[in-house]
Symmetry: C2
Subunit: 106 residues, 2 copies
Amino acid sequence: MDEIKNRIICPLDFAMKLIGTKWKPLVLFHLLEGPVRSGVLQKHLPDISNKMFTQTIRELEKDNLVERIVYPVVPPKVEYKLTKKGYSLENILKSLDAWGLEMMKT
Amino acid sequence: MDEIKNRIICPLDFAMKLIGTKWKPLVLFHLLEGPVRSGVLQKHLPDISNKMFTQTIRELEKDNLVERIVYPVVPPKVEYKLTKKGYSLENILKSLDAWGLEMMKT
DNA sequence: CAGTATCCGTGAAGATACTG
DNA sequence: CAGTATCTTCACGGATACTG
């Protein structure tokens, strides 16, 4: 019966599973601007380790929130961009950002 | 200089620090309905351990998102309710819930 | 430039038993 | 009924070194 119980999860819970980690919201937020090269994106997240960056972006890819574009050139060039699913978070991310700003004031 | 760097954090990051854990959004979401007794609230979160419930609610209290109301009776009666800060998350929580529902479909 | 591999510490989270 | 106290586990996340 545990299987059944595990299926009956709150949508909110499901949402947090997709974006409720340390770096995911930040990555998605920066991608709202448009496609960005891998290295540039990483520079925008000053304290992220290389490992966490790759891991985070891979999970976002797997969940179809981010798309990976590889240019067959040397040296390698890779860009990341939001998918439609990813963009559907735009308002939420901006609201959260605004809310965070309010909270920082008080 | 690390001190300075640590102060320059993204508001979104700050927001996730406040509510970006496994149970916090869920607890806040259930409290949108109004004040709830401790035991009842916990029942709404089927798979939460006693420890995590207390820990989660304590942190929300500390951050002034949730208020604790103790009735001096025997046996003990405790209620939790959202503060104004807590309620300011209403739209975001509902949006996230709706978004999660969409994601579950596809 | 972009990504992988490995090692390792810390803390999140669970299980259990207990108190006022 | 509400909450505390331990003990334990394990995955998150960081540092470093390496490949195509």
